[in-house]
């Protein structure tokens, strides 16, 4: 096996959104790392803070209302949080790039798709207009769109094709790290299969590392090497794909698995997680999952358990001694 080389490490990241009425604590002390060529899955439900983490790494949080309250984001050993905007611009879109969830709104409707791909290449690679055009055409072919469609506008493409264009833009400068935020959520399942296969192949060819944000555990099982489960702005469980799928430890992770309808169709009733995700403007004291946890004790209500290593590289934020029978 190849030796692992650290690419990105996020340490104790905390982000909040401040409005005149309230402070929304979106990310509360999140730490993880991504090695070169590896894929990390960030899993969680709406409002868990997944997209905020991604935007913090890209340095595209809208400030105000967002404010980074602490932590470090080390990319190739430089802290992105304390880098002047001028330096970040050299990294964003070049070394780190992002695929957004909704291809319908991620593209500019008044520019041709070709120009939108070429723009990034021209800015980052210091090449002539003509060369950037040629490379953009090659990118289109790579994502399975005939280069003859270079001069067409986004509205002339279907959803799946638009997402391919967004992927072409993201990969046009051979990034080291690709952040894919729900890249297939807006797509139909047969198109999703096409796009996921394509992302996988391109990633393999280019040796790109990836952070894949999703709520779909099926996609995680297929695409990721490592997984972090995010709940209320904290990582509640993290480990290899095998750890998470074969030995899930945290009650929330177990709850997510239990709530899924199975294709085998052997269950009569689903087992939902009771209650609702907490309001991030008013998070519970102690463990953030206790109001919904079937195993909550008095201790859980008072103290937030830190992440504990329960197996090599497998972390869980739960104090339960015996994780059996979860």
């Amino acid at each position: 096996m190849e030796s692992k080389e650290l690419l990105l490490s996020v340490k104790e990241l905390a982000v909040s959104y401040r409005t005149s009425e309230e402070i929304v604590r979106a990310v509360n002390g999140v730490s993880f790392s991504v090695n070169r060529k590896e894929t990390l899955g960030l899993v969680g439900e709406t409002g868990a803070g997944k997209t905020t983490i991604a935007k913090a790494i890209m340095s595209i949080l809208p400030d105000p209302p967002a404010s980074v309250d602490g932590g470090e984001i080390l990319f190739e050993e430089n802290d992105l949080l304390h880098m002047p905007e001028k330096e970040i611009r050299k990294i964003r879109g070049k070394k780190i790039s992002m695929i957004f969830q909704d291809p319908m709104t991620a593209l500019n409707p008044v520019f041709t798709v070709g120009d939108q791909i070429a723009e990034g290449i021209r800015i980052h690679e210091n090449v002539s207009r003509k060369e950037s055009e040629e490379r953009a055409k090659a990118m289109l072919e790579m994502v399975g769109i005939p280069s003859s469609r270079y001069g067409e506008y986004p509205h002339q493409f279907s959803g799946g094709m638009k997402q391919r264009v967004v992927i072409a833009i993201a990969l046009s400068c051979n990034p080291e790290l690709l952040i894919a935020d729900e890249p297939t959520t807006a797509l139909d399942v047969t198109i999703q299969a096409q796009v996921l296969e394509m992302i996988g192949n391109l990633k393999e060819q280019m040796g790109t590392a990836m952070i894949l944000i999703t709520h779909d555990l099926g996609i995680v099982a297929e695409v990721c090497d490592n997984v972090a489960v995010v709940y209320a702005g904290e990582i509640v469980e993290m480990g290899s794909k095998e750890d998470l799928f074969d030995r899930p430890a945290h009650p929330y992770t177990n709850g997510l698995f239990a709530a899924l309808p199975s294709l085998a169709g052997d269950q009569k009733r689903l087992k939902p997680i009771k209650g609702l995700t907490p309001n991030p403007a008013n998070l519970p004291e102690g463990c953030k999952f206790w109001p919904r946890c079937p195993y909550a004790t008095e201790e859980c209500r008072q103290e937030n358990p830190g992440l504990r290593e329960i197996g090599p590289g497998h972390f869980s934020r739960c104090t339960r001694k015996s994780q059996e029978g979860c």
Partner: protein, 317 residues
């Protein structure tokens, strides 16, 4: 078993500048009382249009709809109002399907008030009971939709649809906008209510694991046509149509030990505007031959497993 609803050769076309859009094109099926029929397909396959046509939110272009054996294809306004008490719909998006200026209690009780058959006290009592049934807290009586999260809003949509005790409910992607933990709560609720009150559901969704879980029978649609129909278990264990096979193989499964042969389809869904005669899936089908250019109709492959594919026997040998 009583046939509650039956449609025969139902068509719904829309006029567009490019020609006629065949949203629903010659669909026939029936539903027995107390059962759930799932309708699956990808965006643009006509599943929502079908659901809306069934309950007269859209007028059909051609074909027949029978409810309790009575032809309801063309009914006047007066009759339609009566029918609506028995046929309701739960919409996909709990964010846009509720009136933002009405409180929880106003939204839920409105159908009762409109019938003119209930007194004030009765309405209050029935509404309170319904809220309890769907798991809405008493303190949310006077809350407006913007104060509530998606799961609670969807409960309001369900409560409003079910308060008149309709026999037949079209559920149009009722859990697609919800997180899995909440989705499970809502699906359980809908199943409980069905058991308790013998509701009949048409469940429209693009989520195959959800439809597997909730349906007795499943219809697969592609570009306005029904291409496969059979029991839920049978469909997942023994899909026969090439599109169904590809569709099922494309679902990501949350299990790292399952190895599957994924069928990746070429291209995307073609246009439903003035479609050519013949199999509509032909352009993407790995088994397409010349003979596929003639129209395909559903044929029974045994025990009610209906498939619209001329080469089905060869493919599944």
């Amino acid at each position: 078993m009583e046939r509650l609803l039956e449609v025969q050769h139902l068509k719904k076309y829309f006029k567009t500048p490019g020609g006629m859009l065949h949203a629903v094109d010659d669909v026939s099926f029936h539903i027995e009382k107390g059962k759930t029929v799932g309708i699956v397909g990808e965006s643009g396959c006509g599943k929502s249009t079908l659901g809306r046509t069934l309950i007269h939110l859209l007028e059909s272009t051609d074909g027949k709809i029978y409810f309790h054996g009575e032809d309801i294809t063309h009914v006047d306004k007066h009759k339609l109002r009566k029918l609506r008490e028995h046929m309701q719909i739960i919409f996909q998006d709990p964010f846009s399907s509720l009136n933002p200026r009405m409180t929880t209690v106003e939204t839920i009780e409105e159908p009762l008030r409109l019938t003119g058959r209930y007194g004030k006290e009765e309405i209050r009592e029935l509404t309170r009971k319904m809220m309890e049934t769907v798991g809405l807290d008493e303190r949310l009586y006077h809350a407006y939709p913007h104060e509530l999260d998606g799961g609670r809003r969807q409960r309001i949509g369900i409560a409003r649809a079910l308060i008149l005790n309709p026999e037949f409910v079209v559920c149009d992607e009722p859990v697609s906008a919800l997180d899995v933990s909440i989705q499970a709560q809502i699906l359980n609720l809908m199943q409980d209510l069905q058991e308790e009150r013998n509701f009949t559901y048409v469940f429209i969704t693009h989520d195959l694991s959800v439809v597997r879980h909730i349906s007795d029978e499943i219809c697969v649609m592609y570009l306005g046509q029904m291409i496969e129909k059979c029991g839920a278990k049978e469909l997942f264990e023994n899909p026969l149509h090439p599109y169904t096979k590809a569709l099922l193989s494309a679902i990501p499964i949350p299990d790292i030990h399952v190895k599957r042969n994924r069928i990746i389809l070429k291209g995307e869904i073609t246009s439903p505007v003035e479609p050519k005669p013949g199999c509509r899936f032909a352009a993407r089908c790995p088994y397409c031959r010349e003979e596929c250019s003639i129209p395909q109709s559903l044929q029974d492959m045994g025990e009610g497993h209906m498939v619209a594919c001329g080469r089905v026997k060869e493919i599944n040998r």
